[in-house]
């Protein structure tokens, strides 16, 4: 790494917060996906917004590529830096700047841990709804970059539905304020465009999120089924009834057995082919009324048992098994590929059959835990990456699973992002023109393509777009517009 750059970064953040020795960098070589690993050139950890701005400006001045990183839980290889790229770790920017219970808004720095935000607003009877399984570690900034979801996004929507306002630092070091705290935006929906751009449009330095009231009543049900198909059909029946549960999560037998053998044991029946967690929330009467509809639907689709958690303790226990399922799989093998794909709900049974067939053919251990209500699958492949031949089988099986999901009308990722893991799958769902549009949009924010280079858009598969130079310099829309906000 360039000594002058190290010195200039150290001058901004202090030498302690610039890491460049190999042992120091090891922490930053993965994002939870064991199939992708790379060492960044250097890691810099700014401690304030001003330091972050200064760092980005310095990287711009030296034309240095960089990768923004939160907690590194993304699972798509998106937060990895390669070669001489600088990894900008945002975990020290972890302040909750304000909470306004009246407007139900909080303003946070990007490194605030997801679960910490909900804890902080709890005294106001509010919560931040998107709850990735990694919520005790993952950051709001990372959630914004990936447009993260979570079990409770079925009814309430994913990250993009909960972010109203962003201050971003563009890769050239300039600032832009997107969206509006008040709901409607100043201009086109650039917040919507930025959320999910995987760190390739710039770095969100201040994030305003919408908070939601904690529901008066929550009822969590556990149903177990003799087949995955009957559980999937129960999911479709519930949605078709007009009831949208707060969460609708499924685990297959392999997953249940891993959970029950672990310290996260939740009392799931290990002989069931599938278990379904259904959570209803709202006013007590509504929840009771919905329960009266949902329970018979579960039984009509051959649920063997339907348990209802009555206490907060029981609910937490049921959820712990689900949320820690990925951790529980650590018992099975040293490495785990958490896959992420989406299919139309009606295709769930067939796609799960197909995944079973792929599993058998490749001789792999696959556990399924997923957001059934959204059709968002997580087939998890347990393996040992030191076994090169096995790792190759995992790669090939992953591709077949993705292809099957796309063939069913789905998408290659529902919440983890493309990163570099799914770069090659992008042409399965987007044509060259649309990929070209993505690349051109990226260049609007980052003409030098220095922010998180090489991710999301497979450049070789794009049709080239270029804005006309004349329009760029002379167009009637090219002038900067007056700032009337603070008149």
């Amino acid at each position: 790494m360039n000594e002058a750059l190290l010195a200039s970064l150290s001058a901004i953040v202090g030498p302690r917060w610039v890491r460049h020795r190999k042992a120091e960098l090891a922490t930053y070589t993965m994002d939870g996906l064991p199939t992708h690993e790379s060492y960044p050139g250097v890691v810099v950890l700014p401690g304030s917004r001003d330091e972050l701005i200064a760092v980005v400006r310095q990287l711009h001045a030296t034309r240095t590529p960089f990768v923004a990183r939160g907690a590194g839980t993304g699972l798509s290889g998106g937060a990895l830096a390669e070669g001489n790229a600088v990894l900008v770790a945002l975990t020290r920017l972890n302040r909750i700047l304000s909470v306004d219970p009246k407007t139900r808004r909080a303003v946070v720095e990007p490194g605030v841990v997801n679960a910490r935000l909900s804890e902080a607003v709890l005294p106001h009877g509010l919560q931040y709804v998107p709850d990735p399984s990694s919520q005790t570690a993952c950051t709001i900034g990372g959630n914004v970059a990936e447009n993260a979801g979570g079990p409770h996004c079925l009814k309430a929507g994913v990250t993009t539905n909960h972010v109203t306002d962003l201050e971003i630092i563009l890769p050239d070091g300039s600032l832009a304020r997107l969206g509006s705290t008040h709901g409607d935006a100043w201009g086109p929906d650039l917040v919507g465009l930025f959320v999910g751009s995987e760190g390739m449009f710039g770095i969100a330095s201040r994030i305003t999120v919408r908070l939601e009231p904690i529901p008066a009543t929550v009822r969590t049900m556990l149903a177990d089924f003799p087949s995955i198909r009957s559980a999937s059909e129960a999911v479709s029946a519930i949605i078709a009834s007009g009831i949208v549960p707060a969460a609708l999560e499924m685990m297959d037998q392999a997953c249940v057995q891993a959970v029950e053998a672990s310290i996260y044991a939740a009392g799931y029946p290990t002989d069931a082919a599938a278990v379904l967690l259904v959570e209803l929330d709202g006013q007590p009467e509504s929840v009771a009324a919905e329960h009266a509809v949902v329970e018979p639907l579960l039984r009509a689709h051959r649920a063997r048992n339907v348990l209802t958690a009555e206490t907060a303790y029981d609910r937490a226990r049921l959820w712990q098994g689900r949320k820690k399922a990925f951790g529980a799989m650590g018992r099975i093998a040293p490495d785990l590929v958490v896959q992420d794909a989406v299919v139309p709900r009606s295709a769930l049974p067939d796609v799960l059959d197909r995944i079973g067939e792929i599993r058998d053919r490749y001789g792999l251990h696959i556990s399924n835990v997923f957001h059934a209500g959204d059709g968002n699958l997580h087939p998890n492949i347990s393996f040992d990456r030191r076994n090169v031949a096995l790792a190759e089988r995992v790669r090939n099986a992953s591709r077949e699973i993705m292809t099957a999901c796309v063939a069913a009308g789905g998408s290659i990722t529902g919440e983890h992002g493309v990163g570099n893991d799914k770069l090659d799958y992008m042409p399965l769902i987007f044509d060259a023109e649309t990929l070209g549009a993505m690349q051109a949009t990226r260049r609007v924010f980052d003409p030098g393509e220095r922010a998180n280079p090489g991710k999301v858009v497979p450049v070789h598969a794009c049709r080239e777009w270029c804005a006309t130079p004349a329009a760029r310099t002379n167009g009637s829309h090219g002038r900067p517009l007056a700032e009337v906000t603070h008149d």
Binding site: T103, C153, A185, M200, S286, G375
Partner: protein
């Protein structure tokens, strides 16, 4: 020039797809996304400026252009999947037509935008105009899973998909939703549907404005689950006083319980509207927005509602107003207004950090004020570059920003 132009248009859409508008301007009515793409590739090559039209019930067809293009010919409901609760529809399909088609299968699209039932879904999405149901079901963007858009230079971009959760690639659709056609012309949409609710009740109460907003605050603090909580000015409701309207959806028992909480816990006299009257109440109030030549919306949350309504009354008038009285907020105003009054409103609103979006107005107003007009730090440059990317010839006749002195 016009004869040659017409001939070229006919080559793309056939003779029946080319007409003239009342002012004699050529109007092209493509019947497929692909024809639309060919049309804009041609227009771009010839530097012909285009005006985008839908069913012609919302925005007046008056933007200056060399030709008009209508989405009327894009009129197919391509597919409806009750199992997956998703529909693929052409952008020219009227919202009323779509509603009827979906209801046949026990589904609905949970948006109630202002305007007539003839208004096209493309217009609703391009303008991002949500109605009172945004309280329960979110803004228009929450209902769009994917879309096809033809850019100003005739490229066809297919953003998003047909599943409810999808983070593959950048979310390009968001730029088009509420982009007023400045970044292309939406031709096809994948929409998120819902099963029709088992029960759907509407309650209204009449009182003075401040009394109603105060009650609405209490209801919000009490965390009632209301799918709409909207306040209507006397002019828009055709009533002597202001009206607060609440809509409750869900299971029969759940709705009944919520209705009891609504009607018991405050100082208003609530009246439940019978099904037919409830339906006409919401439809008429949506249509009444068209009663003024200018419609605008203000991004206001509930705590700022009273002050913002005062600001509107002081700057324009207490005309046709509907406002979100629940946590979603938002004010829509329609009426007649001089440009300098609108400009003053935008300035005053901006000083309070309230964005004002011009939703519809005659071209001279749009041209001078722009749909958005004012941006915050750094946004103007991004919007300019995005426009140049998606409309490199700047040939889409859409006034996002307005003239320099309109701001």
């Amino acid at each position: 020039m016009t004869d040659g132009m017409l001939a070229r248009f006919r080559e793309i859409v056939g003779a029946s797809g080319v007409e003239r508008d009342p002012a004699g301007l050529p109007r092209v009515v493509p019947d497929s996304t692909e024809a639309m793409a060919r049309l804009f590739a041609l227009a771009h090559a010839r530097s012909w400026r285009a005006r985008i039209e839908g069913q012609g019930t919302w925005l007046s067809s008056d933007a200056p252009a060399d030709f008009a293009v209508s989405t009327r010919g894009l009129d197919r409901v391509v597919s409806v999947s009750p199992a997956d609760l998703v529909a693929t529809v052409d952008a020219g399909v009227a919202i009323g037509t779509l509603r009827r088609r979906l209801a046949d299968d026990g589904m609905w699209l949970a948006i109630d935008p202002p305007g007539r039932p003839e208004r096209s879904i493309g217009s609703i999405v391009a303008a991002g105009t949500a109605g009172p149901l945004r309280q329960g079901f979110g803004p228009v963007r929450d209902h769009v899973l994917g879309l096809s858009v033809v850019t100003g230079d005739g490229r066809l971009v297919r953003a998003g998909g047909r599943v409810v959760k999808n983070v593959a690639g950048y979310d390009l659709g968001k730029l088009q939703i509420g982009g007023f056609g400045g970044f292309g012309i939406i031709t096809e949409l994948n929409l998120r549907l819902r099963a029709l609710p088992r029960a759907d009740q509407t309650y209204i109460a009449r009182a003075g404005r401040d009394h109603l907003t105060s009650v609405a605050r209490d209801l919000t603090e009490a965390r009632l689950s209301l799918q709409a909580l909207e306040i209507f000015s006397p002019a828009i409701a055709a009533e002597p006083d202001w009206i607060l309207a609440a809509r409750i959806m869900g299971t029969e028992d759940g709705v009944a319980a919520e209705a009891r909480r609504l009607t018991a816990a405050n100082s208003l006299t609530w009246q439940q509207l019978p099904v037919e009257r409830a339906s006409s109440f919401w439809h008429l109030s949506a249509r009444a927005v068209l009663g003024g030549a200018v419609t605008l919306r203000l991004g206001v949350l509930q705590p700022g509602l009273d002050d913002s309504l005062d600001m509107l009354a002081a700057t324009l008038d207490e005309g046709l107003i509907t406002a979100g009285a629940g946590s979603a907020g938002g004010i829509r105003w329609s009426g007649e207004a001089r440009i300098d009054a609108l400009r003053a409103l935008r300035r005053t609103a901006a000083s309070r950090e309230i964005p004002m979006t011009l939703e519809r107005a005659p071209w001279p107003v749009r041209q001078q004020l722009g749909h958005f007009g004012a941006y915050r730090e750094g946004v103007g440059a991004l919007v300019s570059r995005l426009r140049e990317t998606f409309d490199p010839g700047l040939l889409l006749s859409v006034a996002l920003e307005g003239d320099a002195d309109g701001r």
